[in-house]
Amino acid sequence: MFSRSAAIIPQCQQVRGMATLKMISIRLKSVKNIQKITQSMKMVSAAKYTKAERELKLARPYGIGAQEFYKKAEVKDEEGEKGQLIIAVSSDRGLCGAVHSSIGRIVKTDIAANPNTKVVIVGDKVRNILQRLYAKNIAMVVTEVGRKPAVFGDAALVAQSIINSGIEFSKGKILFNAFRTVVSFRTTEMPLYSQNAVANASKLPVYDSLDSDVIQSYTEFSLASLLFYSMKENATSEQSSRMTAMDNASKNAGEMIDKLTMTFNRTRQAVITRELIEIISGAAALETKN
């Protein structure tokens, strides 16, 4: 029993809060590697952000135009009890700040307020957030999102799956992160209206020669358009947020490196001083003996 504890003690003598030179240099090397990685991730997301912002600028008139009809026709949510549909647009990849968690938070409060809610999740990260408590409300999950910039075909695919699954809803919304500036984004929602809601819109009779076929094609196409627009906005917010997060990480790593280097040099000097003292006191002891 005692011999075993004797084996442990020598370690404790040397470790005085990381005082060993070897341990500090190992830690220093690993933090330097991390700083290199975060710096390169920042460069990569800066490049992706530039491209995403350019595409978003071209897609904005399209997205805003797609919402105009619903505003001008004053379409309101259906007065039904068929529940709510939330399409949460996010992506698969992390390390991008508060992008995924802000969407997850709002979905959670929404489901708590209205339990009869179905959620279509675009992107793995939000699925991970919601899976534990609200697995029953998840209707569909779309993965492989975020690696390449979104194209209209992707949004059309998602829209087609939603339509094919036959989800019925009285009110709906698309949750995404709208891009504001390089350093800020806002989690916004775009209202989604079912076909019945459009058919019962207050200003619909003003619109001439409409039959249910036209309304159906129109709502299906605008679902794809709105999804495309939200994907583009979210992609830009995600890349800019990742850029900021990686930049902060590199700065923090830089601070840690400075502190560790300081500690390393001090420890090195202390070791040298200790050796010198030992040598000199040894020599002095020999001299006095003589």
Binding site: L58, G65, F69, F152
Partner: protein, 163 residues
């Protein structure tokens, strides 16, 4: 021309109905129409005031002037002609999409793909048509047949647009 103006003003003195007719004439010229014509990857017009737009839709091709009655329509593959305020005309080929005309004379033309007609290559269009026709011949399932028919429709419209 002067005689018409004289008779018109003379008639105006006699009956008030003609003042209404003159007002209707002015109504079509004064308000403008603001067009937003966009595709997912490009913006062609963003809230630009134009004179007239001709669109091909499934319920027939029609021209949109200011103060057109509000409507929704689904676009067919074909050529959209935009008559701008300075008199120039621009033609674009659209593959599909929707057009919305609102009460306040704003028009949103959302096309899935839109290209200027002069960038189209007629030989490539004819090749695409031949390809889609052979696809239809070899199509087995309903979905494949429908896809091939859509392809034929688009390529026929493409060929027509090039001519």
């Amino acid at each position: 021309m002067e005689r018409m103006a004289l008779t018109r003003s003379a008639l105006r003195l006699f009956s008030g109905r003609f003042t209404q007719a003159c007002q209707v004439r002015g109504y079509a010229d004064a308000p403008s129409m603001s067009l937003t014509f966009a595709a997912p990857s490009q913006v062609l017009y963003n809230n630009i005031s134009v004179k007239q737009i001709d669109v091909p839709s499934f319920s027939g091709s029609f021209g949109i002037l200011p103060a057109h009655v509000p409507t929704l329509a689904v676009l067919k593959p074909g050529v959209v002609t935009v008559f701008e305020n300075d008199g120039s005309t621009k033609k674009f080929f659209v593959s599909s999409g929707t057009v919305t005309i609102n009460e306040d004379s704003t028009v949103q033309l959302l096309a899935e793909e839109a290209v200027p007609v002069d960038t189209l290559d007629i030989s490539a269009a004819k090749e695409l048509l031949a390809q889609s026709q052979s696809q239809l011949a070899s199509a087995s399932s309903e979905v494949a047949k429908a896809e091939a028919e859509i392809s034929i429709e688009v390529s026929e419209a493409l060929v027509k647009a090039c001519e």
